[in-house]
Symmetry: C2
């Protein structure tokens, strides 16, 4: 029985990976992934066979990995952060019925919501939502509906893919939806290049976030009504009586 | 400058920890935590000084760790899963202003939403919410409001603390709220004792979930309208054309 490991490699830093992820990669003859993620681990595996496809060719990448596993090769498919959160675990499992001999193991990793939160403080100390602002595969209407519900539910909100060249105003539009339910002063945070060169973070109120330019390497955190700034950090208390 | 590491140790299995978490624990003279979490790492650190307090004495545990760090001891405070998600990062940062000499570093970990999802398949392949059903520190009304908003927004939903002896019907009540917006056939999943002895998982429709007994070691996943069961796994597609 051939096995394919779909591995979340965590944020950029090599020690952000779990020991289980590291062991899965150690054992793989072939490692597949998006070019930037393979770069992230290239120093750890200088002599390993890598296979990559660019963005929008995710399915080709998944199929290549499944075929390699079917052919008996120890194969890993890496994802940034977690394997499941907007990652390759879902498409691999959707394609799997075509590869009857392959067993798939999903190896979880630290997604940007968690690694970014740790850098900012503890913005996810209570209930939260994770929403991608990318409308490549999701109609904007559905994204806006989810933002509205997240705002009404007073969740802390993490925004993935907040912007790209093609959709420069998505964060602004998202903030406008959130501002309908939430104070302009709501403490928010940005984290850029988590665990990579050029890592930076910023705390700012929701109204200022609305007019901030972000790129696709940024993860955005919007506080709930309970979120506070304490000593330069973003904290959403769980409710302990301090 | 004294330093306190607040460390997410991931699910139960020792290799579910990140290398960064492992290094922080390796360097600590004193490791503080809830007894069950210290047990989880006891085999790795048989000769280390441990300090624990029972449930509902979380603040005492945080203060003890902060005081030890203030006194110059290399100290780590461990949390199950992630350090931030319903973890000790928030209360530590709330208490920190009383300990002027202490630097706090938060080390993220794989929270049960991610490790549980990996066991079930890829239920969090698209937008999702994380909600705790514990009303120890949160009024039930607020929990119910969040459930309603999560249902209206068609999020995949992860439920933490779905039950305890004192509140045996919380999962049932939560399912009733979700059933108002979501089909009785919605694919759902349960994971129990993730990464520990007795690990088990189960897939079942939302209506059956409503009448299932769960304990406090269970994490519950409720699919969105897009979630499917494929080959015995729970998958929420991101929208790739398979």
């Amino acid at each position: 029985m051939a096995e394919l490991f779909v591995v979340g490699i965590g944020p950029g830093r090599p020690d952000g990976m779990t020991l289980q992820a590291r062991a899965a990669l150690d054992a793989a003859e072939l490692i597949c992934g998006y070019p930037a993620y393979l770069e992230q681990i290239a120093a750890l595996y200088p002599d390993r066979e890598f296979f990559s496809t660019p963005m929008k060719q995710e399915l080709e990448r998944c199929r290549y990995a499944l075929e390699a596993a079917q052919n008996g090769r120890n194969t890993a498919l890496v994802c940034s952060g977690d394997a499941g959160v907007y990652g390759m675990a879902a498409p691999v499992l959707e394609l799997l019925p075509d590869y009857a001999d392959v067993e798939v193991e999903i190896v979880a990793g630290v997604t940007a919501a968690l690694s970014g939160a740790a850098l900012l403080g503890a913005p996810l100390g209570h209930d939260f939502c994770v929403i991608s602002l990318s409308d490549l595969l999701t109609p904007w209407q559905r994204i806006e509906k989810r933002l509205r519900c997240a705002a009404e539910g007073d969740f802390a909100v993490v925004l993935y893919n907040p912007s790209s060249r093609r959709r420069a105003d998505h964060l602004q539009r998202a903030c406008d939806v959130l501002l309908a339910c939430r104070s302009a002063e709501t403490p928010c945070g940005l984290v850029r290049n988590i665990g990579r060169e050029g890592e930076e973070k910023q705390l700012l109120p929701l109204l200022a976030l609305r007019d901030t330019e972000v790129d696709m390497f940024t993860t955005v955190f919007v506080g709930s009504s309970a979120t506070k700034e304490i000593g330069g950090r973003l904290v959403t208390p769980r409710g302990y009586r301090i």
